[in-house]
């Protein structure tokens, strides 16, 4: 209860110092909704390494390869109005910047949209899957564990977006309770001008 209150308080305050631009983006390991081919390395899936398909996705997997746009949200987050702009950014930069949506714990009363808040990892992944289908989210989705570790580290309540540069540092942060990211920041974060023909 105390942890939940601290997380709520932290998330309610804009401009949390620990997530300042220039700071190292906290690494995470999160379960994806399904198999995604991020094209990070040339590898052949074989019988021996097939288990890797079920492995969680780490932010550090992208370090040194491409910037990452992290978007945190949930059913009760004020995110839907920002989704068209997000989709436009993805269309423009998606071949050079990895967009990732992270489904987090609902910040406000979730029962407006869902029967109750999820209580296990598996319940949360089904809720997240429902959300991405409902809003037709075009970007890969990861799911925060029910212990809300990533939510806490990124002060992500109720919704937030970060641009993580290729060197793993935070390049840009959206305003509080918004996922609006400045396109100019994307240009600045891109150190490899040619498009990656993935």
């Amino acid at each position: 209860m105390g942890v939940a209150l601290a997380v709520l308080v932290a998330g309610a305050r804009p401009g949390i110092a620990e997530m300042a631009v220039g700071g190292a983006a906290p690494d995470f390991e999160l379960m994806p909704l399904r198999f995604y081919d991020f094209g990070l390395e040339e590898r052949e899936i074989t019988r021996e390494n097939a288990w890797e398909l079920y492995e969680p996705v780490r932010l550090s997997d992208f370090k040194g390869k491409r910037p990452v746009a992290l978007v945190f949200g949930s059913y009760s987050a004020p995110i839907r109005a920002d989704l068209p702009d997000l989709a436009a950014l993805h269309l423009e930069y998606g071949d050079r910047v990895q967009f990732l949506f992270v489904y987090i714990r609902e910040a406000t009363d979730p029962t407006v949209k869902i029967p109750r808040a999820p209580q296990t990892d598996l319940e949360r992944i089904r809720i997240a899957n429902s959300f991405v289908n409902e809003v037709d989210l075009p970007i890969p989705c990861l799911v925060d564990g029910i212990d809300d570790t990533t939510l806490a580290r990124y002060a992500a309540h109720p919704t937030r977006a970060y641009l993580v540069a290729t060197d793993g540092r935070i390049a840009h942060v959206s305003p509080h309770a918004s996922v609006k990211l400045d396109p100019a920041e994307f240009q600045a974060a891109l150190v490899v001008p040619p498009s990656d023909p993935r």
Binding site: I114, P115, R116, P118, L122, E123, R126, I127, S130, N133
Partner: protein, 112 residues
């Protein structure tokens, strides 16, 4: 309704073709050596032979309650339908909920 049935059956054909093709490919050849293929084939064959049908046409369909991938609104006439539709993502979908409501086509399968 006929259009719905035809489109669903077209989707089934895609799903079933993938499954059929995988079986055909298994027999035709794979990355594995002949020993692995033959061994795997006989393992599967033994597995199939060991299983026998527990239900026949005309029997009461075995009930189940299984969790869905996401919210589905099955519209089975319960009060507060949207809430109950979304509750099924936690409670699961019961086959018997459709009894006396509408027939249900069950398609069993997997990706591989």
């Amino acid at each position: 309704m006929r259009k719905v049935i035809v489109s669903v059956l077209a989707a089934l054909t895609v799903f079933g073709t993938g499954a059929s093709q995988s079986q055909a490919d298994a027999i035709a050849g794979s990355r594995d050596g002949p020993g692995t293929i033959i061994g795997g084939f006989f393992r599967e064959l033994v597995g199939y032979l060991k299983r026998s049908d527990q239900v026949e046409a005309g029997d009461e369909a075995p009930d189940f309650e299984l969790v869905p991938l996401r919210f589905y609104n099955f519209d089975i006439g319960e009060p507060d339908e949207l809430r109950n539709a979304r509750a099924n993502v936690y409670q699961g979908v019961r086959l018997s909920a459709f009894k006396h409501v509408r027939p249900v086509a069950l398609i069993f399968g997997s990706y591989t």
